[in-house]
Amino acid sequence: MSVKTEPFYLNIGPQHPSTHGVLRLRVTLDGEVIVDVEPVIGYLHRGIEKLAEGRTYAQNIPFTDRLDYLAAMTNNVAYCMAVEKLAGIKVPERGEYLRVIFSELMRIASHLMAVGFFLNDIGAMMTPVLYMWREREKILDMFEMACGQRMMYNYMRIGGMSQDVPEEFLPAVKKFIAEMPRYIDEYDQLLAQNEILLARSKGVGILPRETAVSIGASGPVLRASGVKWDLRKMDPYSIYDRFDFEVPTGQTGDCYDRYWVRMQEMRQSVRIVEQALKQLPGKGSVCADVPQFFRAPKGEAYVCIEAPKGNLGFYVVSDGSIAPYRLHIYPPTLINITAMKDMAVGWKIADLIIIFGSIDVVLGEIDR
């Protein structure tokens, strides 16, 4: 005998601790089981694309910090690369290497946050986060040395970066890179075989390979589903073709795989920074000679890079003036949340929080 039940509508967020910002989820439930889930976004929409049309190319760099604010340096790099491509500016060798070092350190910091808060969502309240913040703090300290900021760096410039790194920076990076594999081992020891993590994330929120490709997912979400797609390897931008690293991929595309891929990527980032430090030219300029109010030639350029959360793209159109005619930001997490419904339907409401945490969203980037 079946009991007829009424669907129950639940509204999660926008002000809710587990929504990682101001995402709102409109959930339809059958008892405790999810029937439908719809993300409602726009609570952090600041109209950056419109604002950019009224500001010079250099004035737009601080806006990019406020997209994915947990990986602000990568956004800086992506935007500057798009403008450089448009104007045909070449970044000096030392600048390129420093950009790689900063991008990879940023990836480690972002993945530490992602994994830490994913475990927070699972129920390992605050302890793993604080372990991971221990290392993230060191990265932020290094960034503070270089640009005086811990979150909104505004460090990259069109043609390179605002200034060379101070002398204490490189020794600090070397020390950190030497220590970091041990810390990752420590996390693995605590987490990889952890009963709670396995029970709550293995087999939960599976994203099949075909769906992941169809929705255009990227980053760890796509790679966890078994697609070996990393722009650093497939479309080596900047100087990534000079480094030896691997692209970890998951097998089933469940929450555990997404966690696992991020852990492995941190190890690979450490390897890249290690090699970059060895190859880094000792002297030289870090920024090409670009006037402050330069005019990009008429035309358009699109650059897409592998940001910590996926493929981050900037599409810039110039009409020959000092401001971009159109700036479009292609945000990886907006595309990745398209998969929310596919992952969550059929699971319980408690699993929804985990599935959502495993995508690693930042609303600054989704809403722009």
């Binding site: 769906t211 255009g216 907006l334 595309i335």
Partner: protein, 145 residues
């Protein structure tokens, strides 16, 4: 990843769909908005092209026309293409939705509908995305101040 030779591809598509190609150069392929859906289906399903992965979908307002920009990638062949189409209506710009082919377009088309006021025929759920229902105007149009 290499950009596919869109000049040659344009010739090929002009043969298959007569009158569909507006222009084709090294950078991009511009097609007629009427043929967009057919061309996109062809690009996705033809062996050797295999554009299975749609990345950025966006629009730009050039006052005389709206330009729709699609960048697609083939994970299998490791090549990419920029496909464009132009919409000359200002009051009621309409184009076929590509969401039935690639779900990647779902949110991006909703965003364009919201900020540019371009309608997508065949989109499963065309509503405003970032701004609220009842918001007046489309902010990313150049004449919106």
């Amino acid at each position: 990843m290499v950009a596919i030779n869109s000049e040659e591809l344009g010739k090929r598509i002009a043969e298959v769909f007569t009158g569909s190609v507006v222009s084709a150069d090294k950078e991009m392929l511009v097609v007629d908005s009427v043929h967009l859906f057919q061309v996109a289906t062809y690009l996705k399903e033809t062996p050797g092209l295999d554009f299975d992965y749609l990345t950025v979908v966006t629009a730009a307002d050039y006052m005389e026309y709206f330009e729709m920009i699609y960048r697609m990638v083939s994970l299998k062949q490791n090549h990419s293409l920029i496909l464009k189409t132009r919409l000359y209506s200002r009051d009621n710009p309409t184009v076929a939705s590509l969401t039935p082919l690639w779900r990647a377009a779902y949110y991006q088309e909703r965003e364009i509908f919201d900020l540019f006021g371009i309608k997508f025929e065949g989109h499963p759920d065309l509503r405003r995305l970032l701004l609220w229902e009842g918001f007046n105007g489309h902010p990313l149009r150049r004449d919106y101040l």
